[in-house]
Structures are given as structure tokens and as C-alpha cells.
């Protein structure tokens, strides 16, 4: 997993950050190729935000190295790294207007006023806030503030953009919408990025690769499909959304809803198992049904109509769609 030194993009090598002797980030190595997006997921407190801050240069790493295009930047101060960060709480400058917020990074590197004004206009256009230049940041809604924060972070066209739970302060509906927009935008810009979130759906939607963290360690890296189909550990399987984990033919498997079929009573039932509906969650165009078999294992499947609790059902398990945990 150790990146080769000459690699393009970001390389993190055995990075450790300790708080009071306790490792918040524990010998993490990872690489992000240029123009690709890595999502870091993990439960809160797993060290993903700390890792992000170490990459940005806002916390000092105790051990290990951070490199960009082969050059060691471990000891560079944050303001010289050319790495942008979009903060969880946005951290907009409350004493400045929208345009002054977005233009801040450009002013810091010495762009002239005209260039800054043009670029701010372009960015507001990009994030869908045309005409917001003079607005005070306190008057913005959550979604607007999030867009301004994004525009501010990408304005200086940083080599690497870090996003720390950028949607955490929004309500659910806005989150789904902006998540999709954000993913499209990062791709349009060809922006190299690390996207931190605790929500696996968000991660899958924006990322080329997903890294799963637990207790300071990076436990699995891969494309969304690889991780879903081959979680390798029970923690990863559960974290990315596998609810049912069973022992089968001497191994452990995750059983996704797609591998569980509800069978009509008149079908051939030889390969089916009997189960009882214990939960039926209405999701609009479908119902998520949880049913327990005789051993108490709970399977999830989808049905077009609701089924009353306690109904006996037949489940057919498609073993070829199981994900091996090992």
C-alpha cells in the first residue's frame, strides 16, 4: 500500500497523529491520483477529520509523510500547500460579504481586483448563486452557505481539495440533492479531492475510490463496487450497509437485499426457506421487508406491496450475489 515516490497526486505514507499520546490517526497510508476523488468514510471519531487536517497542514503529524507529485510537503505550513479545505461548519468569514469570502484566497496570492471580480462571478455562476456578491454571509440559508464555502475553497484552483463533511449541516433532502451536484461539479472541474463523510451513500455517489476508516486505521480502500461486493471484513460490510451476515459453507457472507427474493407460494419452493415478517418499512415506490428465519437470522428484501407483520413468507437466497467476508 506504500505509494511510490514518483507518483502523481497525493501520497500519504504511514501517517500518525497523536492527541495526548493516543493515536487519532494510526500509520495510515493512501494515495489519491490526480483528477480522482477519494471518499473517506467511517463512524464519528474514527480519525477521518484529523487525517484530513494533517493533509491540509492544520495539525502536525507525529510520524509519517505527506507528498504531492513526489515532493515531500510534510513540513510545509498550511498556507503554502496549495491544498483547499471546505469546512464542516463552512467557517465563512462572518465579517465579509459573499464576494469577499470567495475572493479571499485569490487576494492572498496577489491577484488584481479585476481578475478577482471576474473569477468570483464565474464561481457564483458555477454554484448557482448569480448576483449574490454583496450579500452578507449571515443572511444565507444553509444550502447557500454551503455553496459559497465550496466556491471559496475551489476559487484559487487548489491542486487538492479536501471536503470535511461538507453537507453535514443540511437537512436530508438538501443533502441528497447537493451531494449529486457536488459530485458532478468535482468531475467537471477535474478536481483532485478527498471527501470525508460518515454517510456511505454520499461516499458512493461522489467517489472514484472509497476508504473506510475505523479507530484511526484505514481498513479498506477500493472502488464503491469493489467494497460493496468484497468488503473483506465484517466491520466494512456493516459500515457500507450490509445488514445480514451469515455463515455458509464454512465462510462468512454478507447478504444484500438484492440476493434475497420473496417467493410466491405457488412457485417451486425446494430451495426456499421459511421466514416471518418482523418489520415492513414503507419507502414510497417499494417496501423494505425484514423477515426472520427459524434460526433468527434477519434478511432484508424489497417488495412492491406492504406485508402485515407476522405473515409467513418464503425467501429464495441467490448465493451468487452474496459478498464474501472471509
Amino acid at each position: 500500500m506504500t505509494p511510490t515516490p514518483a507518483q502523481s497526486g497525493l501520497s500519504v505514507d504511514s501517517l500518525t497523529v497523536r492527541f495526548d499520546g493516543h493515536p487519532a490517526v494510526n500509520t495510515v497510508s493512501l494515495a489519491v491520483a490526480e483528477k480522482s476523488v477519494l471518499a473517506l468514510v467511517g463512524p464519528s471519531g474514527c480519525g477521518k477529520s484529523t487525517l484530513l487536517r494533517a493533509v491540509a497542514g492544520l495539525v502536525i503529524a507525529d510520524e509519517g509523510a505527506v507528498g504531492w507529485n513526489g515532493a515531500d510537503i510534510t513540513n510545509k505550513p498550511a498556507h503554502q500547500r496549495d491544498i483547499g479545505l471546505m469546512f464542516q461548519n463552512h467557517a465563512l468569514f462572518s465579517h465579509r460579504s459573499v464576494a469577499q469570502n470567495i475572493g479571499f484566497g485569490l487576494r492572498m496570492r496577489g491577484d488584481d481586483r479585476l481578475t478577482i471580480r471576474q473569477r468570483v462571478g464565474e464561481l457564483l455562476d458555477l454554484v448557482g448563486l448569480v448576483g449574490f456578491e454583496k450579500r452578507q454571509v449571515q443572511s444565507l440559508s444553509g444550502g447557500e452557505a454551503q455553496r459559497v464555502a465550496l466556491a471559496r475553497a475551489v476559487a484559487p484552483a487548489p491542486a487538492l481539495l479536501l471536503l470535511d463533511e461538507p453537507l453535514a449541516s443540511l437537512d436530508r433532502a438538501r443533502r441528497v440533492e447537493l451531494n449529486a451536484e457536488l459530485g458532478a461539479l468535482l468531475r467537471t472541474l477535474g478536481q483532485t479531492a478527498i471527501y470525508v463523510t460518515h454517510d456511505q451513500h454520499e461516499a458512493f455517489a461522489v467517489a472514484d475510490e472509497v476508504g473506510v476508516m475505523n479507530a484511526g486505521c484505514l481498513v479498506r480502500v477500493g472502488t464503491p463496487t469493489e467494497i460493496w461486493n468484497d468488503p473483506q471484513t465484517e466491520f466494512v460490510a456493516r459500515f457500507v450497509g450490509h445488514e445480514t451476515i451469515i455463515d455458509y459453507q464454512g465462510a462468512r457472507w454478507a447478504v444484500p437485499a438484492a440476493a434475497v427474493e420473496l417467493v410466491h407460494a405457488d412457485e417451486d419452493q425446494d430451495d426456499c426457506c421459511r421466514a416471518t415478517v418482523i418489520e415492513c418499512r414503507f419507502e414510497g415506490d417499494r417496501c423494505a421487508i425484514k423477515a426472520a428465519d427459524a434460526q433468527g437470522t434477519v434478511f432484508t428484501s424489497f417488495a412492491s406491496a406492504a406485508k402485515p407483520l407476522g405473515t409467513h413468507v418464503l425467501l429464495r437466497l441467490h448465493h451468487d450475489r452474496f459478498a464474501l467476508i472471509g
Partner: protein, 532 residues
Amino acid sequence: MGVAASALPMVFLAVFFVWPVANLIWRGLGDDISRLGEVLTGERFLRVIWFTLWQACASTALTAVIAAPLTWAIANRRFTGRRVARVLVTVPFVLPTVVVGGAFIAVMDRFGLNDGSLRLRHTVWAILIAHVFFNVAVVVRTVGGFWSQLDREQELAAQTLGATPWQAFREVTIPRLAPSVWSSLSIVFLFTFTSFAVVLLLGGPRRSTIETEIYRWAVTRGDISTAAALSVVQIAAVVALVALNQWLQGGVAATSSLLGDRAIAAKGRRQRVAVAAAVGGTGLFLAVPVVVLIERSLRLGGNLTFENYLSLGDRVRLLPVSALDAVANSLLFGLAAAGIALVIGGMGAIAVVHGTGAIRHMLSVGLLLPLGTSAVTLGFGVLITLDKGWLDLRSSWWIIPITQGLIGIPFVVRAVVPVMRAIDPSMREAAAVLGASPRQVRREIDLRIGTRALVTGVGFAFAISLGEFGATSFVGRSPDQLTVPLAIERLLGTPGDLLRGQAMALSVILMVVTAAVVLVGDRVHPGDGGVL
């Protein structure tokens, strides 16, 4: 910038504060140790120390009683003009001490209290009433401000458990308020213990506190050893009081569950009358001296006239320069002192917020020390210390703004530091990842956000410098460096219709300028700029 930000304030404090005070203590102990023994045992000095103590106790108790109704009303009831009342009550507190002295002399003239059965002149009552006038704001703003933020839930809980409103007040509210009450009263005690001009002007020749006694021994009699010995006693007492205040203030910070505003509209006739009486009564008490002062400034030979103001340009025999020259001097010194407070206080605030280790700790304490030091000991210390070699400042006019600026620095620091500390750290980090160097972060984030507080603090420093009397009465010895407060004190000390009229006119000018600076400051940066 990191090094400069802490180095300059450190050097300034060391040279102009620590050294003079240390030298004063050294002279008090070392010159003639028997003098300190005399001070601590001699009957005359014991009488002075005793009077200082008991008048401070009496002033504090009286302030608490007079301030209580308005404190209750402002904290608990919404009424028209509540915000205005909160701001206006601060005005007496920021008035220069000589102006308050002048106002009470005008009141005594106006209502015939100079002799007869209601004689107030040269009695301790004149001192006590003036001290209450001054310090009502301390109690109303600290206790009232704290009280208005205490949630009602706990009192309501007590009432659901069967407590009467009075029992809930006694069992729940009072214990929660206690830390802020003790803290504000200890500040009032400190102020009245070190009160100088009020005692000098209203107490007459026979009433003397440690503060006025130091002045009389040092300036009138020229006995530096005795004055220094008295200063040691004063410094020891003040250090003890400040330590007590710090200890009491710890309790205020530790109290939790603060809300926005607990005040509710007054319900029923009785409550409305109570609020009106509290606001009106206290308002009348605070307004009368101010109104009488203005009226007296417009009166000469029994007629209403602007003559007192118009004659300020003419030199009267009593003063070395005309009163108008004194106004020009005060403005010049005030601007210079404000500039010093801006530079030293601003850099010091940044060093306190961003610095590390021992230097940060030393500055965070050191920059506030001049606030707790009595003006008389400060001025006296500077006078007897900065008189040698390249630091011989006695003949330079800079000695005045430096001393006054020293007194203004704590106000700048107290206004700015909390604002800078409250800045969300992620805002500085955001600036850093956008390419701002640490220096640019301080300029773009800390200074920008702190600007309003800085302006307010510097405004206070300017106002304080204009009205400063205690320290200036020591360092402003040169005749052509006469300031307005010094001129007022001299004019008040001599009978004569025009002299007194001019004193009142100068007092009104000083009052208007200081009140304006403070009121504007309150609009720019709501709160009190760290005064209280």
C-alpha cells in the same frame, strides 16, 4: 510580528509600570523603614487608614441599597427605554472624577447645603453620596446583566415544588446571583477605597484617605519618604482587594445555564408602579447633579448667560494659562494617550490571544494591572522614577500621555481580547488553507473582527485620558501643561463667581465629550467595552 507583538508591550510595561511601582515600593521600604512603622502605628495615619476603610464600606453598602431596585427592574422587566436606561446609567460611571466633584459642589451651592442644619459641605455624606452616584452603574450593569441572562426554569421548578415566589427568590435566585453581587461590590469597594478627586474636592481639608494623604505628603509637603511609605500600605491593600475580586469573579464564570434575556413585561398596576418608581427614582438621583451642573455653568451674577464659556479664552490670575489652552492640552494628551493605548493594547491583545507560554501569561496579567493600581500611586511612582538619564521625562510633556495611556491600555485589552478569543478557530484555518500566512491571518481575521472592539477600547482610553486626575496631578507639574481636570480642581478650590462658573463650564465640556465617546462606543460595540 509574533515577537514584536509581545516585545513592545513587555518593554513598555516594564519601563513605565513595573519599574516605577517597584521603585516606589523600594523607596517606601528602603529609604527609611521607620517611616513605614510610623505610618502603621501613628495615630494620624491610623485615623486616615480607618477612615479610608469605613467610608469605602459605607459607600459600597449604600451603593448596593440604592442600585437594587433599578437592577431588579432592568434584569426582570421589559419596559420602554430599557436599553436606553442601561446605557445612560453608565454615564455617571465614566464621568471624570473632578466633574462629579464639581457637580456635587454645584448641587450644594444650588440647594443651600453648604451650612445650616442640612450642611453637606465637607461632611462624609457628600463623599458617600458622590460615590454612590458614581458606582450605581457597576452594580446595575454587572448584576443586572448577569441576572437578565439567568433562566427562570429553576425558579419555576422551585415553585412547582411548593415554594412561594419569595421562597423561590431566596432559595434559588439569590444563591445563583451571589457571585456576581460579591464581584460587583468588591469592584465598588476597590474604586471607593482608591477614590481621590471626590475625597479631595468634597471632603474638605480635614477628611483624608490614604490616597489624598499620599498627595498631601508628596506634593504639598514634599516629604517623599512618608508618601512612599503610605503608598506601600495602599499598594498592599489594593493587591489584596484585586486578589479578592479575582477570586470572586471565578464564581461568575463558573455559573451555568445562561440564556438570552429573562425579562418579561410588567403585569398589573402594582408591578408597573414598581418599575416606574425604580427607574424614575434612580434616574432622578443620577440626573439631578448633571442638570444642576449644566444650569450652574450657564449662570453668572444671577443671570443666565454663556459668559462662563465665552470667558474660557481669557487668562484668569489663578491659572498659569487660559482654560482654553488647557482644553487644547487635554485634547493633545488625550490623542497621544489613545495612540499609545491603541498600539500597546492592540499588539498586547494579539500577543495574549496568539502567544504561547510564559510571555502570554505575563502579558495577560500585566496588561490589566494598571487597572487595579490606584492612579495616585501610579503617578507618584512615575514621577519619582523616570527622572534620571535618558529616561528623564519629567520635563517632557510625553510623561503625561504615557502615564494616561498606561491607564487606558487595560480598557483596550479587555475590549479586544474576548472578541478575538471568540473567533471560531476554523475561520483562521480557512484563511490559512486559502493561502494566508500567520501574519496575514492576524491582519485579515483577528484585526478585522476586532476592529470595532478596538475602536471602542481606544475611545475609552481617550475619554479616560481627558478626565484623568489622580496620576496627572503628580506628573503634570509643569504650568504650561495644565489639563482640564487640573484646571477644574484649581478653579473649584478658590471662591469667586466667575472662577466657579468657569469650572462648571469646563466640567460640562468634559462631561459632554466623555459621555459622547462612551455612548458612541456603546453603539459601535454593544456591551461596555470591558469597563465593568
